[in-house]
């Protein structure tokens, strides 16, 4: 109403400037949609030769042989999913613990340092994690892998899964990814825990619940959807993470159950092979990018749907 009333007060020039500014803002907003659309169009277009040659085989064939012109991405999709799954298994419980620590348990003095640790973990660039992973962590952890695989040798299933002793492997990639996604999962879980109404918590305290019982009975049920969303956003991050994985996963496109052996992942192979790729090989790598883009967009959209994050914010709950 104010806007309408005051519009009539403005004289011509000011009104035009006003209108111009609002168009400028709108244009900037639309840029997001334009860029997202262009990403799909432009990369999809360049990837066409590979999609045409391989058809559905691009997604279902596990033979990736650039020299022979065979481009099946299944091994990379497998690697991405395995490494991301390991990352989630490790990072999710720790992140929930950290989020609970920050929101419910920590004495005030400890809260800020822990938030700082999270900020710094998030600030370390991906390539530095990769460098540390390949030069330090991978070498040290290989000894642990060796011990573990010896311990479980011969036991069915476990013996196969926990086999090998390679520092550059699915497991190393998964652990590095876990470190990298912990800050984001923690910060979203924190946001979720912070939305639990105070009276619900106080009701639990009032019934004589211990802190653990309060968390289990009041906080967790209320936050379930939000937490699922947080996990899925973490998954999206893990799937798209490139450089660290490119350095530590070992770059051997293979589908095997043993977690301590080398593999490869979608984003990682693009980073490693794109430089010397030409023709269909290059198109196939761009195609991997397209598949990755679609997968991460789906995961992100679902995550936000489940968490109802956008809606809750719009609802005006500050």
């Amino acid at each position: 109403l104010i806007a309408v009333a005051q519009k009539s007060l403005l004289h011509g020039g000011a009104r035009r400037a006003d209108r111009l500014f609002s168009w400028l803002c709108l244009g900037s907003g639309l840029l997001v949609l334009v860029v997202l659309g262009l990403i799909l169009l432009s990369t999809g277009n360049e990837a066409m030769p590979a999609f045409r040659d391989e058809g559905v085989g691009f997604l279902t064939s596990k033979v990736w042989n650039p020299a022979a012109g065979q481009f099946g991405a299944l091994a990379f999709i497998y690697g991405t999913l395995v490494a991301s799954a390991i990352a989630l298994v490790i990072a999710v419980p720790i992140s929930f613990g950290l989020a609970l620590f920050i929101t419910e348990i920590a004495p005030k003095k400890l809260r800020t340092p822990v938030v700082y640790i999270m900020d710094l973990l998030a600030a370390v660039p991906s390539v530095v994690y990769g460098l540390w992973g390949i030069a330090v962590f991978g070498r040290e952890i290989a000894k642990v892998y060796d011990d573990v695989s010896r311990t479980f040798d011969g036991i069915p299933v476990l013996g196969n899964v926990l086999h090998g002793a390679n520092g550059r492997s699915f497991m190393t990639a998964g652990i590095i990814l876990a470190i990298m996604i912990t800050p984001i999962v923690t910060s979203i879980s924190r946001e979720v825990f912070a939305t639990v109404p105070r009276d619900q918590k106080e009701a639990a305290w009032g019934l004589g619940a211990t802190r653990f019982e309060m968390i289990r009975g009041a906080i967790l049920p209320y936050s379930r959807n939000g937490l699922v969303g947080a996990v899925m956003l973490g998954l999206g991050r893990a799937m798209g993470e490139t450089i660290a994985v490119a350095l530590v996963i070992g770059s051997v496109p293979s589908i095997r159950a043993s977690l301590f052996e080398s593999g490869d992942a979608m984003a990682a192979v693009v980073a490693n092979q794109f430089g010397e790729a030409t023709g269909t090989h290059r198109a196939a790598l761009i195609g991997l990018g397209v598949v990755l883009f679609v997968m991460t967009v789906i995961v992100n959209v679902l995550a936000r749907k489940v968490a109802g994050r956008t809606d809750r914010r719009l609802g005006g709950k500050a």
Partner: protein, 295 residues
């Protein structure tokens, strides 16, 4: 529930002890989580400082990158220049556009259909993998105009844009409506109100959000790999010729077995981390110190 107020029967006492035990155990687990999360940070900082500190010198920060990766000795100057120039150009593009888009979302669109879509999509865009941004700029820019620092800046700008939009919008939402109404009631136009009242009130939050986006962009490698090429001399002209950056230098040198390359990778990592951490801490300080007290 009598257990809480005091155990009256032996059974109650046992139950109470068990509940307390579970609670202590849980608290212990949570503290363990904090310890586990701190370990990698400490380890990484330790190694980066130890190995990177060993090669740090004025020569390292200023000299050109050696021609042969196997040669020993310093030189990351061009990468530092490249990182600063490329990130700077990306900031110059993404921050103004991001702020304007946030202004649209919070001041004009609010809850209408289009604004809701843009908001959701910019959330989705924050989740787009950085390597996809690199491929995108490669297909849409590099194939036509060739490798350049600007191409890298475009890719980084695409990454920063949604981060700036979301953080700015969060801050704009905190600006009290009374400020806007007062300005409008004085006869100021909406544009003038936004530019002279709303944005200044939110400036510290906007700056700190932007700095975090810059910090994230400065550390990115994947979007630069196929957009800026490689150069061993400093190139301050972002529109012409190949460029280089700290992050891509770390990536390339990390895969080389030669001690010289390894040392340069660690040195570059230390430089990059210092840069990024300074930006992050600066953002924190700005948020804390200059926060406009609202309500």
């Amino acid at each position: 529930m009598s257990a809480v107020f005091g155990a009256r029967t032996p059974h109650d006492a046992k139950l109470l002890r068990r509940r307390r035990g579970v609670d202590y155990g849980f608290t212990g687990l949570v503290f363990a989580c904090v310890a586990i999360a701190a370990v990698p940070l400490v380890a990484i900082v330790f190694y980066v400082v130890k190995k990177g500190g060993g090669v740090m010198s004025v020569d390292f920060l200023t000299k050109d990158i050696p021609i042969l990766t196997r040669s020993l000795g310093p030189g990351m100057g061009p990468a530092i220049v490249g990182t600063l120039v490329i990130t700077g150009a990306a900031t110059a593009m993404a921050v103004p556009l991001g702020i304007l888009a946030a202004v649209y979302l919070n001041e004009y669109g609010r809850t209408n259909r289009l604004a809701t879509i843009i908001r959701t999509m910019s959330d989705v865009m924050t989740g787009v993998p950085s390597i996809v941004m690199g491929l995108f700029i490669y297909t849409i820019w590099v194939l036509r105009y060739g490798l350049s620092g600007f191409a890298g800046a475009l890719a980084l700008a695409c990454l920063m844009l949604p981060i700036v939009i979301r953080s700015t919008e969060e801050i704009l939402r905190l600006v009290p409506a009374g400020l806007r109404e007062a300005s409008l009631a004085l006869g100021a136009s909406r544009a003038r109100t936004i530019l002279t009242v709303v944005l200044p009130a939110a400036v510290s939050g906007i700056v700190s959000g932007a700095l975090l986006a810059v910090a994230r962009a400065a550390g990115e490698t994947a979007p630069l790999l196929f957009t800026i090429g490689a150069s061993r001399k400093a190139n301050t002209d972002i529109f012409e010729g190949a460029n280089t950056a700290l992050s891509t230098q770390i990536f390339r040198n990390a895969t080389q077995p030669f001690p010289g390359a390894q040392a340069r990778a660690w040195g570059a990592a230390l430089t990059l981390i210092v840069l990024v951490v300074v930006l992050t801490i600066l953002a924190r300080i700005i948020t804390k110190r200059f926060a406009v007290p609202m309500r």
